[in-house]
Symmetry: C2
Subunit: 98 residues, 2 copies
Amino acid sequence: MKVQIISDEQQKMARYAKALGHPVRVYVMQLLGSQHCCYSGDLSEELPIAKSTLSQHLKELKDAGLLQGEIEAPRIKYCVNKENWAEAQQLFKGFFKI
Amino acid sequence: MKVQIISDEQQKMARYAKALGHPVRVYVMQLLGSQHCCYSGDLSEELPIAKSTLSQHLKELKDAGLLQGEIEAPRIKYCVNKENWAEAQQLFKGFFKI
DNA sequence: AAAATAGTTCGTATTTTTGCGAACAACGAA
DNA sequence: TTCGTTGTTCGCAAAAATACGAACTATTTT
């Protein structure tokens, strides 16, 4: 068995791709692309899923590094993590040779 | 519950992203980006996974529409599905440049 | 016809993902 | 302090993803 055939970049690509591998998460990121920040409640009103489910999707995006949450009591403001977003952008750009 | 909040495009995006949500599949698609076609055996030699597992990954990529297989007995030649690849390209391009 | 080659499919096991409602935590407002 | 608002976490269940080896299919070679 060979060592590290798969590069770090490919690992990262896969990680970001996986995070975007659900319609709800694509929706959220796309919304944030247009308005930069939002609240869970805003999304909850739009999307036909339980808020606990939405919370999990947001957590996934956060764990993947695409989002970051900021407390703005009593709500939480979700914003794009610009640094990682730019990284993902670059990775996909390279991948698709855009 | 509201109807169809999530667009077809977003569904497609998620579908492609999901297919790319594993390092092995990223590796395969990237390889094919550089050489257009390959055989399962070529990959099997490189990658530290069972050939049955590889076969499943290839099937996933095929099911997502990113690959297509062509019989070239006794092997199978895997090539990029250009049409769908272009679609994915466009979707991601739009997604990231917002 | 028998053996080798290339891959897929089957059966199985483990882990991860998805989803929900109920319970909980944190804070601001009454 | 009690209540309402906002969102997370918990407990659970069902489904899907990941991975392997063994068995199988199809073709080519010997």
